[in-house]
Every structure is written in structure tokens, then in C-alpha cells.
Subunit: 250 residues, 2 copies
Amino acid sequence: MRTHIVYAHPHNGSLNAALRDEAVQTLEALGHTVTVSDLYAMNWKAVADYDDFGPTENEHFIAAAAEAWEKDALASDIKAEQEKLLAADNVILQFPLWWFTMPAIMKGWVDRVFANGFGYGTSRDWKRYGDGKLAGRRAMLVVTTGAGESHLSERGVNGGIDDLLFPIQHGVLFYTGMRILPPTVLTGVHMLDDSGHADNAKYLRERLETLAETEPIAYRKQAEDYDEHKQLLPGREPKGTTGFALHIAR
Amino acid sequence: MRTHIVYAHPHNGSLNAALRDEAVQTLEALGHTVTVSDLYAMNWKAVADYDDFGPTENEHFIAAAAEAWEKDALASDIKAEQEKLLAADNVILQFPLWWFTMPAIMKGWVDRVFANGFGYGTSRDWKRYGDGKLAGRRAMLVVTTGAGESHLSERGVNGGIDDLLFPIQHGVLFYTGMRILPPTVLTGVHMLDDSGHADNAKYLRERLETLAETEPIAYRKQAEDYDEHKQLLPGREPKGTTGFALHIAR
């Protein structure tokens, strides 16, 4: 098994760094080959721009991205990440929750790596949501937050963490064909003592040890549950279902 | 009236740039003083790191941010944005929807400008969600996307656009005390002809002309509708309500 970890935290002595190291050790002990993209350490370029594409006459940004993909002219740091994803069986994105999503440096990893041609296409029959270039892989988020668990429950003032992570888990990772495992969410981390940190590390180890057999979130495949206008077919959901829950089979 | 527009698109000849110019002209014609932070043109630093804080012995990132706030030592580009927000009556964030949220450069604007002390605090009684440093201001997103309207409806395969934008509208902008107007969402933009673009420009003008009287989204205030565990008080919502809809009064 090969597992690629994409990791973002500005402080290498942080709890996040300790959890990253814990993850690498756990996976290697399980026999995985592990690669890590430590975005801050790599000084990852966060901003998608024309420099990503090589020389082009194409002014339209998305079209220029497609041209670069076709000519194999994407920047070498982007290509290296695409290759790591293609080589992996499992993909883990680990980050502190900043404003209810990933830090900008990791959003820049998404924007640049999942470029036109690799992450998505503009044709009407582009395979996505359950099918795509990264089909066959499993993905899991590992997220730390200072917010308490009750604040991130469905009735919590921040909104439920599963809904908050939907645009990433469904809109980015499932979009490209990967199967998404329930996230590893570690809450209230700035209030923990050593025993709390040890519990979190233990929980992360357990999640990694069961990566292969954990049931993925049952996001609905575009090819199976949606009509030609990409609308959920009538009657697929339990009566009264609303919001993102419509897009998860129960 | 003062209106601050934060804008991100890599191509200055784009539809987005034309809409930005349309917005500035419309607002100036209404008598607004308009400031624009064109993040790509400013070469905005997207990545939050210790360079934002001036000299510090504080290794913990969030604590170092708080120290910088207290010592007035935040980087000058961050301070300039904070001052523009404090001076504004209206705040507009305009961006193309990339992976169902803002481009990394704008996420880096959020991460860096809404820093500890300005955007949020870590005390238990920090005022947020309807109260906060930016209370009294109105905010609106202006979002363009290639996705079709039906694909972004509640039953659409991407999920509903209001839910997709919730982490930004509620989790960032309402969090800081601003009142959030329904977003200006322009769909299917890469398929439009000149007449379609003209319709979009007209719609944007109408939204800007009615900025002051448009009813904000009725996000629930933390101080009014939540208990001490930051959970929505029982019985506040219509029976059967789930997901993000819990946090909007009807």
C-alpha cells in the first residue's frame, strides 16, 4: 500500500506536526510506503496563476490550464503532486481548521494540482463524483480545531462538521473519483493536557490501522443517482431530506 | 457610504474584471467611496506564517498571532486591510468559485486579515456570530461559476450554492458581526454570449443599487439563540429542520 499525506501547518513543533509523525510511523509499521508533502516546509506556491502553465497565447485562465495539461507543460511542482496522487492507494489531507476549511496554502495545493484536465474537465460528459482520474483510491481528512465538539455538532453554532467539510470531501475529493472515509476530527485541541493529546494520537492510529476496511461515506455517484440536468433523481432520498444530506445514500 | 471590494482573479481581461469595473462604476455613481483590493494585482501574500507577526518568542502560532495583535506588530499589508474593513459600510468579496469556495489567494486574505484579535479571539466570551468587530457593516459575495444553475440547486450534484457558501457567509463574515446579504451568484458563465454577459452585469447593478435595503440572511445570533454549550436552543426551528438550515431563522 502507498499512502500520500498532504500536510499544512506553519509550526513544525506543533501538535499537528506530532500527529503527522505519528501517522507516518503508524503507516510504515503497517507496511505502507508513505510520502509526505509538507506544504509549509516545501514553501508550496499557493497562488494559481499563468506561471503554472508555461508559455501560452491563451488569455482565458481555464483554457490556458487545459492547454498546459494537453502539452504536458504544467509547472514541475504540480506534476510531482499529480504523480504522487496517481501512485497512491490512500490520500490523507491533514490540516488545522482555519475559518471552517483548509489553510490557504492547502487550498492552493487543491487549486493548482487539481487543474483542468487532471482534477476536472469542462466537457459535458466529464467523469466526476465517484468516477474520475483518482478512482480506486481512498481519501481521509485529518483535521484539528480549537472549537469544542458541541460547537461543531449539527445544532452547534458553527454548523455541523460533516456539512462544513462537505465542499472538500464531496466537492474536491469525491469529485475526482476517490472514496471518502469519515474524517478524523480532533476538537478542542488547545485545551488538552498530555493525556488528551495521547488519546487523540491513539484515535488517529486506530483510524489509520482500519483505513482499508472502514466504510466510506455513501456519497451518491453522479452516474447512478442524477438525471441529465445533474439533479438527484426523484424518490431516491428518504422523505423530508434536505441540504447536503440529499447527496448521501443512507 | 464607503464600500470595500476584495477581488481575486488571475486575468485582468476576464469577465470577473469587467464585473469588478461595473461594480466600481455603479457604486461611485451612487455616491459611494469605493476601495478595491485586487489581490492578484497587489501580489497579495496568501500564506499565513510567522513573518506576519514581527519578532516573537512565541512558538505557538495562534498565540503568536494574539501577541502581534496586542503589540500592534502585524504586517503592514494586514493592517491596511483591517483599516479598510473598519472604514467601510459595505464589504464585497468577488471571486470565481474554485472547488466550491474562494481561490487560495482570497482564503489567504481571510486567514491573514481576520487574525487572532481582529477576526476572532480565544476567550470564552468572545463576541461572534452577529456581534463582533465588524458589526454594523453589510457584506455580500459576488461569485461566478462555470457550473449551471441546476447543478448548484439543492438537488444538484454539487450541492446547493447557499449551503456551499455557508462556511464563508456564516463562518467568516457573519462570525465577525457583519450582516450578510444573499449572494450575487452568476452561473454557467463560460457558456454565455454577449447578451448573457449584459444580463449578468444588469443583475449585478441591481444588487448594488439595492445594497442598503436588501434583507440580510437571517442567520441566528449566538447571543440570542444558543445555550452555554453554543447549541441551538430547543424548539427554535420548525420541526424537521436539519443541517445548516438550523442556523437560519425563517
